[in-house]
Structures are given as C-alpha cells and as structure tokens.
Symmetry: C2
Subunit: 193 residues, 2 copies
C-alpha cells in the first residue's frame, strides 16, 4: 500500500479528523529537537488537536443544542461540557501547573449525575468557562519543559512513583486526551447532518 | 487539594476508567529506565488501556447487541467494531510493523457508510478479527525499540519529515488511541444500565 493510500482513505464514521495523520496548524519544527522535545511535543500536539476541536465545536453550540441528549436517556451535551471543564480544571494541580479556575463545577458535573441537582451554571457561562480553562491549561502545558513530563503527578506518592515511574505527568496528559476524545465522540452524535 | 481527593472523585459520565490515574495491570518498571523508554512506555500503556477495554467490551457483545445503533439513525456497534478493526489493521504498514491481516474490511467499514453494502462479515467473525488484530498489533507495538517511535511513519515522505519531525510513529499511536476512545464513548452508550 502506498503512503498516499494510507493517508487518504475516505471515512464515514464522523471521525475524519481523527484518523488523518495531519499536521494541522502547519507548525515547522527545529530539526535539532532532542528526543525529549520530540516525545513531549508529539503528546502536546495530540492534546491540542482534540481540545481545539472541542473548543471549536463548543463555541458554536446554541443553548438549545446543549440541552440535547447524546442518546435517549443519556447525558446532555450541557453536562458533558461541564464535566470536561471540571476534569480539565483539575489538571492544573494534578500536573503542578497552578490553582484551579472553577472548583465550583465539581459538585454538579463530577459528583452528581446529570439532571439530579438544580443547574447552577447558565449554558453560555459554561461554554465560556470551558474555553477559558482549556486555553489557560494548554498554555501552561506548552510551557512545561519536556523532561518535566516524566516527573510524578500530584496523585501518586514519591514511594509509589519510585516503583512505578510510568505514573508520570505525561500519562495524565495522554489519559485526559483519550477522555476528551471519548466524550467528543458522544457530543458529535448530536450534530445536525 | 490532596492527592487522594484528586485521584478518587466519583464520576457519573460512564467514563470512570478514563479519568482514573491508574496503573492497571500493576506492572512494576525498572527504576533505571531511560527517558526514551519512559516516554514510549507511557504512550504504549495508554494505548493498551483503551484497546484492552475495547477488547473486553467486544468479547461480551452478543450478535444482537452489535445491531444496536449508538444513537437513533447513527452507526451500529457492528459497523464501529469493523471500522476500528480496519483502522487498527492499517497501523501495521503505517508503523512499519508488517503486513495487514484483514484488508478485505476496508470497503465495508472505511469506504462505505453503515448499511449501504451487503454485509460480508458475520458479527462473530468480526469480533474475532477485532481481537486478533488488536492482539497482534499490540504485541508488535510493545516490541518496537523506544527510539524507533520517533522515526517517520509510512504516510509521510522523507522530505516532509525533515521539516516536520512530529509526524512520527508515536503521533500515529497517540492519534489512534484518541480515535479508539472516540468510538468507545459511542459504543458505551448502547450498554444496559
């Protein structure tokens, strides 16, 4: 199979952007990058691809579209946007990148299921918080020196980390990238065709 | 916030496994691992977490459960399992890990949308192919020397790779991990509660 055939097959699953090996953004990189820079840079780029796509989708959602369930009886888009905002907000202390911006979201969007507590946040404010958290978090992620990604995250002790060095910060980044993509696949189901 | 609070918050979105910073599998690692080994090992571990979860889910699906749509009018689980099998099968040549096992799946599960061609594969055979591809692919992924992850993948030319070194093999692995998680989020919606 040729390189172009590998890169260009049509896809019908709503995930086009995901299986394209793209260089969206078109950044050119220094040919003298170290291995640490290449490994960290690739993981950060994958995070940005997923989060930028979610930011773009979220910015265009109407209040009404946020009330849609991703499948009958399942979470509303409103809940998933709040959930992702809270999970990403918790990455600040988990990665040693600073204080959280919106700890008040945890009760409604992490602790409780959808539609079980009075809504404390308007849809427009939630969209704003989502982009705010992602923008500030991504800036801090991009500023982290490459080798620091191999340090322990805040939810593992020094003792455990000595035995399990893969419980590092970049494991959190990659786990959260997969998590964001998990819910992106669900949110995508509500889009008009 | 304490480490245990960060690690143990309850979640109600069906994504519990995804936001836990876990060391599922419990492997202990050599404390003398190089940075290349740590970076590559973390990405491979994240791939395995997502794919192992999908393998487990798929193994328990009945033929009837595979006929369910993830949301009304959207893809069936049957199609998404075939789609993921084809996408993962294409990773063998893309990563330089060998020949594909099931190129015959592309027409039905990559080129054409769901329910537009006669079904050529029985649900039971598709479940088998899915686990077969993932098992052999993951074994090849685990055997790749860490620094080889920074080499170019087969869909980028030498010339382009010289300018854009983040178009490497580990970018493919991370992109496909996010892609698998994207569809896992959709398949999860069909589970009984």
């Amino acid at each position: 199979m040729t390189a172009s055939a590998l890169a260009s097959s049509p896809r019908q699953c709503g995930c086009r952007a995901q299986v394209t090996v793209s260089n969206r953004g078109g950044t050119l990189y220094d040919a003298d990058m170290t291995n640490d820079e290449l490994f960290a840079g690739t993981a950060v780029k994958n995070w940005k691809l997923v989060v930028d796509r979610l930011n773009t989708t979220t910015a265009t959602l109407s209040d009404e579209a946020m009330q849609k369930e991703v499948s009958p009886g399942r979470n509303r888009v409103y809940y998933l946007i709040g959930h992702l905002t809270a999970v990403h907000d918790r990455m600040f202390p988990l990665l040693g990148l600073g204080e959280r911006l919106h700890p008040e979201l945890d009760e409604q969007f992490l602790v409780k299921p959808d539609r079980t507590v009075p809504e404390t946040v308007a849809a427009a404010d939630l969209r704003k918080a989502f982009v705010e958290v992602n923008t500030q978090l991504t800036a801090a992620i991009e500023a982290l020196p490459p080798a620091d990604w191999l340090k322990r995250h805040a939810a593992v002790s020094d003792e455990d980390f000595a035995k399990e060095p893969l419980r590092n910060r970049i494991a959190v980044l990659q786990s959260r990238t997969a998590h964001a993509s998990f819910h992106e696949g669900q949110i995508r189901l509500t889009r008009e065709r």
